[in-house]
Symmetry: C2
Subunit: 303 residues, 2 copies
């Protein structure tokens, strides 16, 4: 219950070896909240321009996402244009137009201040900290970031991290943040910066969850057709946080299940452009794929 996300709502133009789309619904906040909505109620804090069409708002509302925190500002919605080669693990950004996002100042509706679970999607770490200060006593805070902030706003990021319980970033970001090529050593270094848990996203290889006393490796569900990886990381985070918020169980076992649910959600979203796959997705499909991931990883112990 009461899962809050602050992030972007955007128009994406994406080209992959399998096709291309122009100005489709995207953004970290969109992917996160849609994914989490399969598990719990979500509150979305973001900004869109006056060009944001009613049908996108209707889609988010149809997922029961609370849009009281979705501001509309004069100007155009954030736009991102990117492409992928056959190595779908890495996007090449062609254009970024921040538009209304440039002056975005997240302001939480009063009710949102009581949120127990918070996800700070990949935005300026100063804004992330601003948001956190507006939440009274969050039970669990997770956070994403990227190379741009690690390099350009390192001090602000290091000020935000002590308030973060779970940092969810990719391999290259982990190495960059720690300044250490070995992933496990880098992960341990990141844990000294504040987060109690680090989740390293590894694209088609799954994720590695590292905390002081435990490591958990979850594979990605192998797919015969990855259509568009855009939003996979935020969709992972949405499933992960959505499950935890729904169960309010932060035990090691629960966090592992949440990780697998996140991985399963990401495996769906990449099957089509934008959030198309999420429109038809039903919980039984999620449960079915969860069971398949279990079969994918099981082996006997020593006798």
């Amino acid at each position: 219950m009461s899962l809050l996300v602050v992030g972007s709502v955007a128009f994406d133009s994406v080209a992959t070896p399998f096709g291309q789309v122009d100005e489709v619904l995207g953004g970290s906040g969109t992917y996160f909240s849609t994914s989490a909505s399969f598990f719990t109620d979500v509150r979305l804090v973001a900004v869109v321009g006056e060009d944001f069409p009613p049908q996108h708002r209707s889609f988010l509302a149809s997922r029961k996402i609370d849009l009281a925190g979705l501001q509309t500002a004069p100007g155009a919605t954030f736009r991102w244009k990117g492409k992928y080669g056959f190595d779908l693990n890495e996007a090449q950004t062609l254009e970024t137009h921040l538009n209304v996002f440039q002056t975005f100042k997240p302001e939480l509706p009063e009710a949102y201040r009581e949120s127990d679970f918070v996800f700070l999607a990949n935005i300026d770490p100063e804004l992330q900290l601003d948001v956190l200060k507006q939440v009274r006593r969050p039970q669990l805070v997770a956070c994403d970031t990227m190379n741009y902030w690690i390099e350009g706003k390192r001090q602000a990021l290091l000020k935000t991290l002590p308030y973060v319980d779970i940092l969810i970033i990719n391999e290259a970001e982990t190495r960059q943040l720690a300044g250490e090529p070995n992933l496990l050593k880098a992960a341990r270094a990141v844990l000294t910066m504040g987060p109690k848990t680090l989740i390293v996203k590894r694209g088609e290889y799954g994720v590695l969850l590292v905390s002081e006393h435990t490591i958990f490796a979850a594979p990605a569900f192998p797919l015969e057709s990855v259509f568009d990886p855009t939003g996979a990381g935020d969709t992972f985070a949405g499933g992960f946080m959505g499950y935890l918020a729904a169960t309010r169980n932060l035990s090691e076992a629960s966090v592992r299940k949440a990780t697998v649910f996140g991985s399963v959600m990401a495996s769906f979203v990449v099957e089509d452009f934008s959030l198309e796959r999420m429109r038809s997705l039903v919980y039984e499909e999620i449960a079915e794929r969860y069971r398949k991931v279990k079969l994918l990883t099981e082996f006997a112990g020593l006798d």
Copy 2:
């Protein structure tokens, strides 16, 4: 019992970001047989030159490896020189001197013809087929290959594959052999070429085992210090085939355990140059790390 390997015995010169060594013991046959020797008896078919020193022979003999098939030919032993950058997943070959390997014609001692388990390490696919013809009724044949043969001896390789039960290659080789960028589709295509099972080696991400009705993902054991990845693939194969030969159990469950044992063996060999780590390794350490991989991957099913 009766596990046969044909492969190379070599002198390697290797540079990694952590140090370098010159003319140390290496070669696919060496790594495979040493790894397998922790589980079962191994017969090594290979060739060395007159410069191969007694202490290397003594080391192999100390691991109870049967050296009746290790020919000594006039000339110098095979030499390989390579280096790795911080991305330890990929070696850059600097020099290859085939030397006595150039005219290598594997001839199996009579007793070897009754071998039940056979591993064809990465050599010319024509030689691999020659060896197979000399084995009377192998119960299980596994095989490695590389980009050089996939491109340069494709027809010979396609003639060998129908006699192979388990092909053990890396991701790039899988994609190249199938001519298909999606790994899972590529794996399915490879299965139509003969092997009933494909094991895709993914370096620090572990392995993916694909057969007609099942997929198994085994993570690599996360290491804080990977010193030299040379031989990791052959060491994986040695642990995998060694365990299967020792148990003579080819059930799905057993093959999964074998995969994890292979992965565990590989995690040890990369901790030091050459086969140094294998000299001090004891079975209890292997069992301990197997248990850790189990903890690394376990999560609860759905309620």
